[in-house]
């Protein structure tokens, strides 16, 4: 009996089996990858050679040499000097700056609106909560492009001309040329104020950090807000007073057919901003609501038990914890906003798509280069926003104790 048992297992090797240098699975994996790479290289070569043949047949130049040529077009909005005599490369930079400005303003606006909406969604007030829900459901379920068209073609374009502007208290005017607002001018003290503001900002940050360290070490620390107040308001005021106290508010004035003076926000900018901010704020509102509701119930009860008011509870207990849930999806929404600025091309806002993949492409015919340029820009922006939000997320998570 014992004998047969030994015999029947006798052919098994003793100890764990040694894997051969090339297992079957490994060979197969290598073969599949080799096949895949060959196919990939062949496809890329096929497409590349076709493109080259097509380009040479149509007499289109290739390479990025065209960037140095005279652009020959004008733009409606530019933060750097640009004329039709400038080069395509300068046009590209105009588009980059316009896109970044629109993205930044949109992100700020959408964040404020979105947090307001999120808080309204969890409000005790039934009416407020219900209205926030209606707003969110309307704005997030209608395509952004349609909303942009609505603001631009249905609301802002049909506005009356400068002579029949919609007035806001006699100082701001809305007409088919855009929103014209009074412009504060500080004359020579402008740079002094900016410098003071910078110093104030640094002071505030440094003091906040010091106090946080002190609090972590001793459990007790002084307030920070006087530093922020002094840094952001007191110092600039002081700088303004010392540097000559120049200040003038230029109120736009109707002269002939148009307004003189003041700051102008173009209808394209206004429509793009409204569309993007309303659309993204609906999504942000839902994220904030989910974040607030995601905080454990015990935290609410503990905050109430400690005698905090509702506002204190939100600010000190709930929101800091909700931020951990909020930040990752919020990053996705910021990314989405930055990418969605591309839709503003459809309402003639001079951003990357309309200048690079639009005008430059049609004028030079260099489709491959211009579209790669546009894509490269968006990839860079996406990576940048992702990096910033990862850093923020890290900061928020690190505060966990």
């Amino acid at each position: 009996m014992a004998d047969t048992t030994t015999q029947s297992f006798g052919h098994l090797p003793s100890g764990p089996p040694r894997a051969p240098f090339f297992t079957r699975a490994r060979i197969r994996s290598l073969a599949v990858q080799l096949l895949f790479l060959t196919a990939l290289v062949w496809i890329v070569y096929f497409l590349f050679s076709n493109t080259m043949a097509n380009l040479s047949r149509q007499g289109i130049a290739s390479g990025f040499g065209f960037l140095g040529n005279r652009a020959g077009f004008d733009v409606s909005l530019s933060y750097i000097p640009f004329s039709s005599n400038s080069t395509y490369l300068q046009g590209f930079w105009v588009a980059v700056i316009n896109t970044l400005v629109l993205s930044a303003l949109g992100i700020v606006l959408a964040t404020f609106l979105g947090f307001g909406l999120g808080l309204a969604r969890v409000s005790r007030n039934w009416l407020v909560a219900r209205l926030a829900t209606v707003y969110i459901e309307i704005f997030r379920n209608i395509p952004l492009l349609l909303q942009l068209f609505f603001w631009y073609f249905a609301i802002l374009r049909p506005l009356p001309g400068p002579r029949d502007s919609v007035e806001f208290g006699g100082i701001a005017f809305l007409n088919n040329r855009g929103l014209i607002m009074p412009e504060p001018v500080f004359g020579t003290s402008g740079s002094a104020i900016l410098a003071a503001l910078g110093i104030g900002l640094i002071l505030g940050i440094v003091q906040t950090r010091r106090m946080r360290k002190l609090r972590d070490a001793t459990g007790d620390a002084g307030p920070v807000w006087p530093w922020w107040l002094g840094g952001l308001i007191g110092l600039p005021l002081l700088a303004w007073a010392v540097s000559g106290a120049q200040f003038e508010l230029i109120i736009p004035e109707l002269r002939g057919f148009n307004f003189q003076g003041g700051m102008v926000i173009l209808p394209e900018m206004l429509a793009a901003l409204l569309g993007l901010a309303f659309y993204i704020s609906a999504a942000v509102g839902e994220i904030v609501r989910a974040g607030i509701q995601g905080v454990a119930k015990g935290q609410y009860e503990a905050a109430v038990a400690m005698g905090h008011s509702r506002w204190e509870m939100m600010r000190l207990v709930i929101l800091p914890q909700a931020m951990r849930i909020i930040i990752p999806p919020l990053a996705t929404q910021y990314l989405s906003l930055a990418k969605n600025t591309s839709l503003a091309a459809a309402i003639a806002f001079p951003e990357i798509i309309s200048i690079v993949a639009g005008t430059t492409l049609t004028q030079t015919g260099q489709a491959v280069e211009t579209i790669l340029l546009a894509m490269g820009f968006y990839i860079t922006v996406s990576l940048f926003i992702a990096a910033v939000m990862n850093f923020l997320n890290y900061r928020v998570l690190r505060n966990d104790r």
Binding site: S29, V32, Q33, F36, L37, L40, L47, N50, T51, A53, N54, L55, R57, R124, N125, W126, L127, V128, L131, E137, I138, N141, I142, P143, L144, L145, L146, Q147, F149, F150, F153, A154, I155, P158, K339, N340, S342, L343, A345, A346, I353, A357, L361, A367, V368, I371, A374, M375, Y378, I379, S382, L383
Partner: protein, 382 residues
């Protein structure tokens, strides 16, 4: 005696918020009735009450105007002059253009084909929406594999004596559905392959899939559509042209395939290792394991995410108008530029109408996704 105790208890509770443990304790306050509801939800304290009053006043200011525009002063039949005279919405414009808004430039005599395609779509998708339908697998197979072929030949024609209708004549709501549904059907298998590739052990395939996904996720859909419409023809050999609509569909499918891949990857990561190990131990190869064990579980987990991507696809279909196709928004845009109708009220009406169309689709689908989320969530990890 009892009365006295009750008043004393009430006083204590009023001052301290603590109920004295006496036998004559009052029953808890019952929150019922409309008056109490209003008190709790609209006027719990003076600040909320003030807010309620301000909001009500704002509603009082805005709602009549909205009603008058949409219904009160609206024009239901007539022409531009009537609309301008009445000042409200110009529903007469929508009425006059209804056929074009729905079918684009599809020949009137052939429009029954579009209707039939739509009816077939409803018939094959509707049973899938309900949990209790028997034989779902077969219906799903029909909807994903057979239906697109039938739909293409019905819409395009060229067989069984159906006259050919060029894709350039497709438009309106019908084109919106064509783009949206092709995007949905195309992005799912592509997304599955990319997600599997990104988790593959083969380095070259993983690298390729990761790069593909991240590149497409980093750029806006417009650039992909531009690429499909301007760059793709350059890629093709001489004399070979791809239909403009087909190129747009390709762009939409590739872009959303990359988005879908990330959704599905989430599902794949949620499957416990034991499932992979058990499948391997049962002697299954890679594809068998994926098709019969992993994907059925992973896809079920991410159904809400898939439906949310579908909502995004519907909203994104509007972008095809930028490369010159006439989807619902594109045809409305073209309609309001018509000199016979051109006016501020027609412009507003056109966009509101298109907006309502998209809203119904997207809102319906997102509600359905919420319903699924609730239903799939019961009894599991909560």
């Amino acid at each position: 005696m009892t009365d006295k105790l009750l008043t004393a208890n009430a006083a204590i509770r009023e001052q301290t918020g603590i109920l004295p443990p006496a036998e004559g304790r009052l029953p808890p306050k019952v929150h019922t009735g409309p008056v109490d509801w209003i008190h709790r939800n609209l006027f719990p304290d003076w600040r909320q009450g003030l807010l309620t009053i301000v909001v009500l006043y704002l509603l009082y200011l805005s709602m009549p105007g909205l009603y008058n525009w949409a219904i009160g002063n609206a024009t239901w039949a007539g022409d531009r002059a009537d609309c301008v005279a009445n000042g409200g919405a110009c529903w007469a414009f929508v009425n006059a253009r209804w056929g074009q808004f729905m079918y684009g430039f599809y020949p009137v005599a052939e429009r029954w084909r579009v209707d039939l395609t739509f009816v077939l779509l409803i018939a094959s998708v509707a049973p899938l929406l309900f949990p209790a339908t028997p034989g779902k697998r077969w219906i799903l197979g029909f909807a994903l594999l057979v239906y697109p072929v039938i739909a293409f030949f019905l819409l395009y024609g060229g067989i069984l004596g159906l006259p050919v209708v060029e894709t350039a004549r497709w438009g309106g709501f019908m084109l919106t559905l064509v783009v949206a549904i092709s995007g949905m059907v195309g992005s799912l298998p592509l997304g599955i392959l990319l997600a599997l590739g990104r988790r593959s052990k083969m380095t070259s395939i993983r690298l390729f899939c990761t790069t593909f996904i991240e590149l497409f996720r980093a750029v806006p859909l417009i650039t992909v559509l531009f690429m499909a419409s301007v760059m793709l023809p350059l890629f093709m050999p001489q004399g070979f042209t791809l239909d403009k609509l087909l190129r747009a569909l390709l762009g939409v499918a590739l872009f959303n395939g990359a988005l879908m891949a990330e959704v599905i990857r989430g599902g794949l990561q949620a499957i416990p290792r034991g499932q992979y190990e058990a499948a391997t131990a049962s002697g299954m190869g890679y594809w068998r394991m994926m098709i019969f064990v992993i994907l059925p579980q992973a896809l079920r987990i991410v159904i809400p995410g898939i439906v949310n991507t579908y909502v995004a696809i519907i909203k994104d279909t509007t972008l095809v108008l930028i490369i010159g196709l006439f989807d619902l928004l594109g045809i409305v845009q073209a309609g309001i530029a018509d000199s016979n109708w051109l006016s501020a009220s027609v412009t507003k009406t056109g966009y509101v109408f298109a907006g309502m169309g998209f809203w119904v689709l997207c809102f319906g689908l997102s509600r359905y996704s919420m319903y699924l989320e609730r239903r799939l969530n019961t009894g599991h990890n909560t």
